[in-house]
Symmetry: none
Subunit: 197 residues, 4 copies
DNA sequence: ACGTAAGCGAGACGGTACGTCCCGTCTTGGC
DNA sequence: GCCAAGACGGGACGTACCGTCTCGCTTACGT
């Protein structure tokens, strides 16, 4: 019983198998070959799917990547700061984990590829930012909590602090210059220093 | 009698005309069409040059962009902070100018294109970072001077502050979300606060 | 249920329009420009077809020419000897027609081009030989009939006579020296003389 | 000490070393790679000579091949029929040698290449015909002698006989179908039969 | 239960750009 | 003035993908 009259005409329904095979193939190929060697043709072949099936549902390569991110087919794990009551310690720990993840060699090329996709697709950019911390459960959530609990001064701009931390990581990614461990430990202190209560 | 046995005879010399025409054409087309619609074929046609002349001297599109940046064919103007003795004011002024430049609509697509090039070519990344402040005459220079003069505390990490400021701009560029004027005024204070003497 | 397990699914079918447009374009350009100025790119442009469509179906320029010959897109008319009962007269008439056709200035460049193609593609050579006489309906057929009817001696080698007549034409084509009318009249007599009954 | 006053202006004279190196390189490469893979660039490189040196002296690749033939850099040996007084035996022997030479596998590709060159350069065609027999010392000479001595009838057309013999060889070369030994023995008899006294 | 229409795989199509090869001309500096 | 070396503008090569378009098939709704 369709919810609304004339909702859909007869015919086969979208194949979930095809959808997941495509996302999986795209994720694998992105990790293996990088964003600019990623081709729709290659994805279709790997997913054993016709090209039109991809074009029917996604307008562009980058939209496909955005959905991969949304679907956790890429970057399945999320790094979230703890809340021990010590915001500087928590953020420093989080930052170190992010840095290690991003510099680890296996994922650095992948992240760089996602970054390339992000430049021409805002949805990718949004998803990437979420993965890296711009989400209520993650960095911004921890900072908000810190403001609420008085660990950070009331006028502290959570958005600015978050952008600084993530922006620096992105900048280092782009310029192929990672963070040394000491750097990574010191960086959050430098940024947060002016906002600690 | 040749100076050394293995010395190769000279042959015709590289044409400076061709080189500059190529760099100019690449710069124009990058600004007009963006990095991923930029084609070697198009550059060759615009520069009235054979494709092989480009391939003879540059291994890739991105290497060509890197040389455009080096040659000041792209981004000819450099924004440099003043030194009035008030580091926060100077950096805030500089940051505002950068933000206005980067958000101004004419150059934002260009910068985004350069960013895309930077992701697959470290030389582009280095040149771009220089243009944005990582140079003794620019942001890092001003911050170094502030440390030297005692405006900033001795242990302040100039590199970290610089990465934060520039990284945030890059992040906003990638995610298509610019800085509001108030944001731009407040941001440097948030970052520098912890390092002011 | 598919008839057999390994059967591949069909997909779109080859476009006959494209095929004939390509053959026509190739034939025209061969006649206009000669074999070595013939380019795949030019054929594709004339036929309003993508280059890959040509490469999908023909491995080389010469294979394309071979199919033009097979398809009667080149050399549509065939010159066939009559059978009046007088083999020398019939062959002489046929030879004269071939010589006139081949020397006529419009087709001589075309035939020369086909000859060039024949050198690096045996299929072209075979088709060209057929057009010139190596076919049951043509010269060899007439000679076979003459042997059967006793006009030629039983041991006469039809293949040898045919090769002589056609070979001489080819040789004259290659060396840019045509047959004078008298020459053309006399030649078959010289060759056939030893085989007449 | 110049032989005549004011005869020529100063400057270096054409280098014979360069000329022979070029002819040798062209001959080798023609034999190795065939006519259509033969490039001026390759010849220059093999001969350790600048490209302009080639263009200064030869207008085209095929002219260069023609000079190779003239200079005996290609096809150094000439096959000449003997004169034992038996023209059929002599021509048959000569024909057999030519067939074996032409079919031998090492030289067949070379001859085919020369044939390709002959199609767009009449000088090559002339030289090739000479090598194969159209020269007073060779086939036509032997046939002329036969007419003079009465072995062949007075009205026999030497040119026609020669064209038939050589044309058939060329035809077989083009169509990749050689002569069997029996064929080769029988062929001259078939052709000459009508002209023997 | 059946017709109908959408989804699907396959893959051909007209295109664009790739990066390479060679063309024939030119420029340079040494002999 | 000839030569080697080799850069140049140009054009075609054969390939890789693009995004669109048939093809026949499978599938599953709605009558």
């Amino acid at each position: 019983m369709p919810a609304e009259a004339g909702a859909r005409r007869p015919g086969a329904v979208r194949s979930e198998d095809a959808r997941t095979a495509i996302l999986a193939a795209a994720s694998e190929l992105l990790a293996e070959q990088g964003y600019d060697h990623l081709t729709i043709e290659g994805i279709a072949a790997r997913a054993k799917v016709g090209k039109p099936t991809i074009y029917r549902w996604w307008p562009s390569k980058s939209a496909l990547i955005a959905e991969c991110l949304l679907d956790d087919a890429l970057l399945p794990e999320t790094i979230t700061p703890r809340n021990t009551g010590d915001v500087l310690a928590d953020v420093t720990e989080w930052f170190g984990k992010i840095v290690r993840f991003v510099d680890d060699g296996k994922s650095t090329a992948l992240i760089r590829s996602i970054l390339a996709a992000a430049i021409d697709n805002n949805d990718v950019a949004i998803q990437l930012a979420r993965r890296l911390g711009a989400t209520p459960e993650s960095l911004e959530g921890r900072l908000d909590a810190a403001v609420a609990s008085g660990e950070l001064v009331a006028e502290a701009s959570v958005r600015h602090l978050s952008d600084s931390l993530i922006g620096a990581i992105v900048l280092r990614l782009i310029s192929h210059s990672g963070f040394e461990p000491d750097d990574a430990r010191q960086f959050p202190r430098t940024i947060l220093a002016g906002s600690l209560a």
